[in-house]
């Protein structure tokens, strides 16, 4: 294992063995790095983000009144990301930064590797194409420290690379509902089951290190959409969660070459994520009042993945998904119907998934109008157990999609 210690040099992970344990990792760290007392260990996985890296690092290095351990993990970038990061850090010459270089093994692996180097009480992740607002970590850390919290989440904004504007994230209404007008609250899944519906993005939070170790909050390697099960496990396994109403995390959209923009086989990973999530729900014996929110998150992300698969794979995707959705407990679904009474689109999608009606799902996701299928359902609504008025409205809704 090639390991060189003093900062500007890169720590090079043995490409064959891949992962390493914590004691091994500590030995690699330079002494002047370990001597500092850190508040938060910030892990920055980096893969082909050279044009956006400076903005991200600016926002991280500009954080005031906090001692950050900055761990940059280069996940085998093929562009000049590593050089940009090295230049940036060398210019500053701070001892609290390390750069780790590994062969490309994916975002999850990079995050997990970062945790093994983490020395602080709290751990945070930040994708290097996104950025934080000034003093975000200071605010998060103070809130966590003052109230002895295990997890603190903050709100996010969407940053559009196209016209440089900021807008609200799609989960804004859930935040508004949970915060009830406060700027910050301390809660858990029993007081506010709605927090399970929040965006499962790993970057919006700081998490206590001991919680990661004791509850195994590491990311499943080799899978995409890895955030969801870890997010749910984090929320389910602790009683004190802080929610901070300030919009600190800026999520960049409309940039070329983002993983989530490509349509391909990786969408099928969400099926494994679905299984893991349901196992999790079993493990924690989740009651329907929480399960319904897990169902909401699952439905949103899986259906979105379905709309992103290519046409030749879509039937296969939806039939696989339908098999899984029909195993969801009936109480969850009943509750879901009550909670989302006004959102007809969600209701119909869930209903079609549970009936394994891949043709209807295909039609909804592409925006076509399968006339005879709608007519068939309209005639047999009572038999299928759809509430009559809702069913009518839903069908009308989808019938309007095309002229």
């Amino acid at each position: 294992m090639a390991g060189k210690i003093i900062f500007p040099e890169i720590i090079d992970i043995d490409r064959a063995s891949g992962s390493m344990d914590v004691t091994q990792a500590r030995k690699l760290l330079p002494e002047e790095h370990t001597n500092i007392v850190y508040d938060i260990s910030l892990i920055l996985p980096m893969y082909n983000v050279a044009p956006f890296l400076k903005r991200c690092l600016d926002s991280v290095f500009g954080q005031q009144d906090i001692s950050l351990q900055i761990i940059i993990i280069n996940d085998g970038s093929t562009d000049e990301s590593l050089a940009v990061a090295l230049d940036y850090c060398n210019d500053r010459g701070q001892a609290n930064v390390i750069i780790v270089d590994q062969a490309n093994r994916g975002l999850s692996a990079a995050r997990n590797l970062g945790v093994t180097f983490a020395l602080a009480e709290y751990v945070a992740y930040l994708d290097t194409d996104d950025f934080m607002s000034p003093n975000a970590y200071t605010t998060l850390y103070r809130f966590a420290l003052a109230n002895k919290l295990d997890v603190v989440l903050c709100r996010s904004l969407v940053f559009d690379q196209g016209d440089l504007s900021f807008s609200e994230f799609y989960d804004a209404h859930i935040w508004d509902k949970v915060l009830r007008g406060n700027s910050q609250i301390i809660t858990n899944v029993w007081r506010d089951p709605d927090i399970l519906m929040l965006e499962p993005n790993a970057n919006t939070r700081i998490v206590r290190r001991s919680l990661i170790d004791s509850r195994g909050l590491l990311y499943p390697e080799g899978l995409h959409f890895e955030d969801l099960p870890v997010h749910l496990r984090t929320l389910l396994c602790t009683e004190n969660i802080g929610l901070l109403g300030a919009r600190h995390y800026m999520y960049r959209i409309n940039r070329p070459g983002k993983i989530t923009d490509q349509k391909s086989e990786i969408r099928f990973d969400i099926l494994h994520i679905f299984d893991q999530t349901m196992q999790l729900a079993e493990e924690f014996e989740v009651p329907p009042i929480q399960g319904v929110n897990i169902l909401f998150s699952l439905l949103r992300i899986t259906y979105w993945c379905g709309t992103q698969t290519c046409l030749s794979d879509r039937y296969r995707f939806f039939s696989e998904l339908g098999k899984r959705f029909s195993t969801i407990p009936g109480e969850w679904v009943e509750r879901f119907k009550l909670q989302n009474r006004d959102d007809l689109r969600q209701l119909v999608i869930l209903w079609a998934l549970r009936r394994k009606d891949t043709k209807l799902l295909f039609a909804i996701s592409t925006g076509t109008r399968p006339f005879f299928r709608f007519a068939y359902y309209l005639l047999n609504q009572r038999r299928f157990g759809v509430i009559y008025r809702q069913g009518m409205l839903a069908m009308k809704h989808f019938a309007r999609i095309l002229p």
Partner: protein, 533 residues
Amino acid sequence: MDKPNLSLVPIERHLPLLISTENGCHWFSAGLPVEVLKDDLWRFTSRFYSHDLFSPAGKAIILDIGARSGLFALHFASLGGAINVVVVEQNKALLSALTDTVRQSGLDNISCFSNLGEAGGYINTISGAAGGFIDLVIVDKDEFNYHALETLAREFRFGHLCGEFDMSATRAVDLFRLSQRAAQTFFWRKGTQQTPMSGEAGTGIEVSIVVPMYNVEKYLEKCLKSVVQQTLASKEIILVDDGSPDASGRIADEWAARYPEIRVIHQDNGGCAAARSRGLAEARGAYVAFVDSDDWIDAPMFERLYDAAVTNNAEVAQCGFREVYVDDGVSIPRFEEFRDVSASMDGCIIVDVNDLMTLQPTIWRRIYKTNFLRHHGIEFPRHIPRYDDLPFQFEVFMRTTRIVCIPEIYYNYRLGRVGQDVMANDERLYVHFDIFEILRDKVAELADAAVELELIKVKINTHSWGFKKINWKLKWRYAMWASRDIFGRRLLVGRWTVFRIAWKASRIKAVLALLFDLLLPAGIGKFGRARKA
């Protein structure tokens, strides 16, 4: 009456106001009107100026012109680190409230001024080694002054320049150019308009004009003259000589020797698509345009198009055109009338792209953002010998999210010339089947029925035109292939929907085409029957 918000109303006249933002609490002077504070708070939380693009990494100077309540100033000043906030407020009442607020806050890194000149001098003294760099400039609408900003830009560079301005105060495109010169990033709100004007630093060429040419010696002079006379200052002209055997290449070289903005590329004959692609690959401008070498354009065309595109953050801008029949001396103006439009103050019309998809291919009357074309990999298919503008136009409209139209007519399209592609009436028309096969794959990638519906409309229009055009010997085969193409090569849209659209175009042809598709064996047609999605 609504219950007043207690945190915003002073209990006694002399008590200061308290307000809590995301990054802490601030006291505000009692002399400040509550409405101003509420408005500023909204601007702050909704990131009205995109101020979060700036991040104070240690040392920074921030200039807030028209600070009003001073909320932004207090926010930045209390971030910590070596930050200096310079505040300018011309309104006397607001300024006195502001100084009061600053004194109460106990922050010593905010300095208030009543005019920009003094503030500039102060920044010069404090910046010293920083070299005239202001990290963030926020300009309020009431204190926006183009000339003051221009003077400031002569002295300083800006990190992030943002604010709001009224379209009556200045021409938007002038401000765009100024911001591009002086700032790394900029973000302007335009009075009542929704769309911001934003961008990054750039001093490059504004529009690249690509002129593909092949055997056009008779028309080239007129075309080049009109291109060179464009009022847009920052342009480059790329002449692609597609191996013309006549004098076109030589004429182009002569013009290039006379005008430095002209570049000539000579290449072996590869068809119009190859020439345009080559020009697109060589383009260095922020926007790119294609002008056919037998047409000519009016002098303000690219200036007005560029103006419309950048001030509305558009990927595509288009104007009207004129069909000129030179043989008969007739010209017919052609432009679109749009319903449901949002006309802006500068006379630009932002339109729904779906309305444009079925337009006849007229790629030469638009400018396209070069990065947009490159990002989506939109090119001219090189193996398609002619009508390469049809797939290009459809793909652009399929991908674009923002297109702006101006109603003026600037492009003169020459018709009635023997040998022009439009006049072909033989096997060359079969190329449409190849074109639609390319587009079919692209539409499948997008998986959107509404887009496929537009493609089918284009197919119906094109094939009925081709059927009319093609000579009688080939008509029968063309009809069979076209029927199969329209009805048999569908992806998402149902046969019944296609039939309804075709019925609207021509009843008899719709019935016959449907019958052809149903009755003919699967192998008939250039690409056979559709494969299952």
